[in-house]
Symmetry: C3
């Protein structure tokens, strides 16, 4: 199996087929949880969080427990208290004795990659600084697949802080690899998408990109609206944050002309950028998205551990308007 | 089943029959632990402790593990590090995806109730500020039932800080619902029972209450002696604390005239209010009480999860002087 | 069974036969993990860490999980937040209700021993101040047994901080009980072995001890080289630390004249005292040592819990140069 024994540091490492394998398995796990309740029996997940991220950690832990595995780890120690000055290489060569698969969150970009070079067990990047967070991207993708049936020919709008937003960068790059995608980038002029990322996806995948500062303007054409929080912690200057923090607030009236099968996503936590009145709109899928994060992590871990083998042709589950369609496609 | 899928925020929510169901099941779990060792297999308890309370947390965790379930959670993060400014409603709508039942400890009174309004899984209040702590009350009740056979016609003395003592208030209110109870309230004049609570239980349940500042005076008539710690953390003025902290110290000589079937309880931790010489007295049941806390939490969680169904008439276990008597009563 | 229900506070408590039982079982667990994957099903390990020690904690947790048991506990609370001023006796009488076996780490020497006097379940000392750390000693012993086949007639060198090094003191004392051992003690003059410990092992076990400040001098005769870190946290004076910290650095060139079956150990974490170039030398066994720590803790816990019974004559596994030899010896 291609995924067995691999590490996942950057979504770019996954082939198009591997992404589909993970998503399709995750969708089946959601539909038939009992079928998978023991597939990781006897396996230990090590959660190595060198900075706290309670949701990410609990999502991984829940995923492993739901497959009959167990969990150990640490959740908010500082680097020094674990390592007492030793190298990442040494630390990981000890930690990989305690578990069968590791998820590492680290404040320093690149540390999970370095760790993976010394680990004898699969390492999953659970977020490294402002760099990568591949399982958030997989969470976004499985939610789109579940509610749009297929990731193809979609108009996806990203709204908010496109300069610092790690989840936006990663999802944008990965979605570019899917057929016929088009992006609408909505941000205040101060927080545009980084130029090099834009150039890369346009040149490499030839996607169409539209930039605007208006959330309203393209609302009627959008298939996916990906809202993000303006992250206070990224601003050196409190005044700048105050000025920009309420740039976009999604309300029911803004959604009046939106498509009936629009889906609204958000990596959470949300502050003010989506009014709570929107929560009751059936197009609001951000809480479902958090839930799908557990299933996609189950699928990922089961595949990296090699506890589930998927033979090509892989199963595609198409879920649209509540009806589940399944078909086999050649991988 | 009435309890399946419910939340437990306040002991008042439980009917008299529900309390008996929980206690009787807990007593059977203590007697026959092997019978219940897998009743929660596949279930996940989420321990959401927004302030630390190591004993309460471990008691819940032990309870779930002893039923074959698993546990995830956090134990002492501050609110902000989990929520990053989001609402309780949003937080709980994410956390309820990770577990099948949640226990929440929170410094702000009312937060567990608010959380329960948004959760799709049962929420148990693990203590909210100085407000409620329903599983401590259930722990007190199961211990009384185990060592007195029936909670009826008992003279119960509460001694110590009756003003701030959350466990006293909650147990007093709940015991008032049992038949023919009588209370003796022993406190320094500075720390009396709150007037409104006294009025409430007298008017609603017509119980007899005697107030005194002497631990000695009524010793010979008492069936249950509930000792409490003077809580340093409740005093604004260190001097006031110093003056009151050793108001009552239970010793062997004080117990000379006490009943042979008296039972002495304490929610723990104890500081000086019970002399260690009393520990060897067979009437001292405070460590047994901590142990019964695990069994009553097992019973509660199994019933809320619906993993155990209890049909009326329910089983009553009567344990007195080491002999176990069982009978079926109509509920 | 001799070990069932016992505590382990000090390696001295273990008879020579008991040490062999634990080591031999640990070696078999490493060779046949599947055979032991459920021997602690239904058992709960309580990890009571009154000071953080992430590796020791995770090693114990992994050990219990690999035998099908479960884990609860705390990892870095201060004493006060658990005990609120109560005695060790009271604390342990509550904690022993939550678990079937406890491991306690405590900053104050003697606390695990005191706890064991009140606990109804086995207590393992996970390190108390600069005092004892018996499972590190068992880890060192199982690694020597695995790579040298038998602990007999070996020349063991200890290098580094021999004054404060708790692991050195404990291993030296325990190795003295094995037949025909000889020690070479390598330290800067400022950090010699304590005089009373030296006197004790010489008088009691009649071992030969050579003291030197040169790592090079005896290299050719050594069977086991036990390197240690100069611990910054032990120095009151930063200058003294700076002067001594790089006293010994093991390099490939230093190892040129060493025996082919030398094994190099280190309790980890390592800072500079072993150059990373040595990691690729097959004689470097310090990462294998960390791994063996999990198996020896599995064996210890299974025996203390009585979940595995070993009948005399006990099984001795001899592992040398990759070949496993087994034979039965009378205990």
């Amino acid at each position: 199996m291609p995924l067995k024994g691999k590490h996942l540091i950057d979504p770019d490492q996954l082939t198009f087929n591997e992404i589909h394998e993970i998503i399709n398995l995750g969708l089946d796990m959601e539909q038939n949880p009992a079928k998978y309740s023991k597939v990781c029996e006897g396996k230990i997940l090590g959660t190595m969080f060198f900075e706290p991220s309670t949701r990410t950690r609990l999502s991984f832990e829940s995923a492993m427990l739901r497959m009959g595995g167990t969990v150990l780890g640490f959740s908010d120690v500082t680097t020094s208290s674990v390592t007492k000055g030793e190298s990442v290489a040494d630390t990981i060569r000890v930690l990989d004795d305690y578990a069968d698969i590791l998820v590492m969150r680290h404040p320093v970009a690149g540390t999970p990659r370095e760790a993976s070079q010394y680990s004898t067990v699969p390492v999953i990047n659970g977020g490294d600084g402002g760099h990568q967070h591949p399982t958030q991207t997989l969470t976004d993708l499985i939610t789109i697949q579940k509610y749009h049936g297929e990731i193809r020919g979609l108009k996806v709008a990203f709204c908010g802080d496109l300069l610092f937003g790690r989840t936006v960068h990663s999802l944008l790059k990965t979605l570019s690899r899917f057929p016929d995608m088009e992006f609408i980038l909505i941000s205040p002029p101060e927080l545009p998408i980084p130029e090099d990322l834009k150039t890369e996806v346009i040149e490499k995948y030839n996607v169409k990109i539209t930039e605007t500062d208006s959330l309203e303007k393209h609302m009627a054409e959008i298939d996916i609206l990906y809202m993000t929080r303006i992250q206070k912690e990224r601003f050196l200057n409190q005044e700048d944050y105050e000025k920009l923090k309420d740039s976009y607030i999604l309300t029911n009236s803004l959604l009046e002309n939106a498509k009936q099968d629009l889906i609204i996503l958000h990596p959470l936590p949300r502050v003010n950028e989506i009014h709570t009145e929107v929560d009751r709109d059936p197009r609001a899928k951000y809480f479902e998205q958090a839930k799908m994060g557990v299933y996609v992590r189950m699928a990922l871990m089961a595949l990296l551990l090699g506890n589930i083998e998927i033979a090509a042709p892989t199963l595609t589950l198409k879920v649209k308007n509540g009806t589940i369609m399944t078909k086999f496609i050649a991988s």
